[in-house]
Symmetry: C2
Subunit: 395 residues, 2 copies
Amino acid sequence: MTAKQAIEFFEPSPRLLMGPGPSGAHPSVLAAMGMPIIGHLDPDFLRLMDECRTMIRGVFQTNNQFTLATPGTGTSGMEAAVMNMLEPGDHAIIGTCGYFGGRIVEMAERTGAKVTRVDAEWGTAIEPETIRDVAKQNQPVKLIAIVHAETSTGVQQPIEPISEIAKEFEALLLIDCVTSLGGIPVKADEWEADILYSGTQKCLSAPPGASPITLSEKAVQALSERKTLPNTWYLDLQKLEAYWDNRRAYHHTSPISMLYALHRALAITLAEGLENRWERHERNGKALQNGLEALGLELLAKEAVRLPVLTTVRIPESIDGDLLKSELLTNFSTEIAGGLGNLKGKIWRVGLMGESSTPDNVLFFLSAFGLLLRKHGFKADVTAALDSAAKTLNV
Amino acid sequence: MTAKQAIEFFEPSPRLLMGPGPSGAHPSVLAAMGMPIIGHLDPDFLRLMDECRTMIRGVFQTNNQFTLATPGTGTSGMEAAVMNMLEPGDHAIIGTCGYFGGRIVEMAERTGAKVTRVDAEWGTAIEPETIRDVAKQNQPVKLIAIVHAETSTGVQQPIEPISEIAKEFEALLLIDCVTSLGGIPVKADEWEADILYSGTQKCLSAPPGASPITLSEKAVQALSERKTLPNTWYLDLQKLEAYWDNRRAYHHTSPISMLYALHRALAITLAEGLENRWERHERNGKALQNGLEALGLELLAKEAVRLPVLTTVRIPESIDGDLLKSELLTNFSTEIAGGLGNLKGKIWRVGLMGESSTPDNVLFFLSAFGLLLRKHGFKADVTAALDSAAKTLNV
């Protein structure tokens, strides 16, 4: 390629992001991304890292010293958690009622540990008793892993009963909080959870590219007792912590701009107040769900375990789900997603995360989606949907 | 943490980045980072990915189909390369004449492959014959790995002779181009190299956070013939390629903003023209090096293998190297780095990479550094240094 073939400046179409992530970022977070680069060992940057650590502890509600952000997307946090906590000879029980639970299994199997998956129907949560039964028959259990908010099904897993089982069998408790952190209550210390990680591009509303993670003292102890080195060098948690703590040992060149953005997004999250933020996500999510049902649609996730931040909607038999999704993008520049794995072609996934979780987006979405459904012959009652949402929103 | 304890907006001090990376980013690259987020499967974003692939091929000078950017810093490219190409039963020979060669060894050892390191004194390049000797005694050889530009020593490794050996023993040739790509000639196809990766924050002058990587057909064939799955799931190259190619199979949420920046930085690099860009780095680097010698300082890297983009300077016995480095930061807001590993406390590392490689920075640096040396009693002749640099710069 020569200068003459140089590619033009890329300008993304403005989008309303109502898929399973990324969500829309606050303008101040985007502005932070554009600040000049400084070095990864610059005193200013080390202060930023310290403040990020403090704020990550804040959103996870933990006092864990061992807290940082891995230099990669949410999946890098999952890989760091799984590959560092497991090694050959370990036994792990992994709850799987969706695509992301299955991903933890795939990663865990690459460590050489023995892995037992405990399944539940997609759209439901894992029954704690099924985990207890497996644990009884396979002691000792090194690790029990569970997804808090399953992005593929819209299900919220109740954590307390799983935490009880982990204590009973003296297992480490690993919780995937990619889609939950900053949107629904995550209480690391109260749950006595040992390893929790998240993404930046869901309810924290930063761009994708880092993964907040925190380890309890018990997890840190387990790290130090490993007999083998972790599979991964890039995401070796002990090496990462040696950079994030006062040793400042060089490991990788931190994604500087990404941490500017994460810092700003965490500050915005904590300034809103976690309780307020959870309440906002709960209210908007519920309004959307009530509205969708009033449109005549059926939701996949059972009501008792339904996530407010990510709603899974069954595609009616008469409707081409991909076509509607694509018309929403083309006509209204609004992104939603289809189903993953078993649910491909069967559901839409509609997110209301972080900055994207607003009453405006609820009302707009019900209007636009209702219109498109009607265009394709599905008799959606848009007035009823808006009435129902407005009642929940109290507007 | 509550709203009242919310942390203030972070503003980095403006810095002149003349360390081993990150380098300064072009304002247009920074502006690209601040653009609104779109989805990782958005048609606009897929187009951006395609254009990035084309441009990454351009800077690597290759026609390799299998070309992408891993979702992490340069070290993630190294991990992807090493962990995907090696498995138990393989034998790898790794040239090590600096910190980063040693890092490849550490990663390779985690794959379970047999690893032979071939060392050379830090400050020199690897003697090809030493690799040939090891290869003869340990056939078959799966992989020969070498660092093109060793960021810890400032040495440029001649690639052609290593390439000859790889062909002779039918081994895959892996080249670390983190510090070379966009700054000195990298010619993947001409070298018949099989796996090459780089970073974004060195001579490409984007922020850190992605790693361009390219694989020859032979390397792709080797991937498909693996007997075991790679250690890593996050950086599993076959999964990454399935997202980057037309399959668009979901694997991770791409670091959207980082790819905006990479796209812009690649376009700027190719618009300048690779030959022009190499010539610029060569001229400015040589001017700095001549100036430093005229100041009375000694360079670590032997002249025949001296990198223009990263200069290693021996700290004179009478000088406290850390103090001088810190004064440069405090008084002139200019970053350079100290030595890594064996060279800690013994050298400074001064970078002239990408946007940071300008005649202005050469002259400013010689002036400021000369003044600080004089302040600490080292009789530096600043006039002679500027004269010498100006002569090389032809100004």
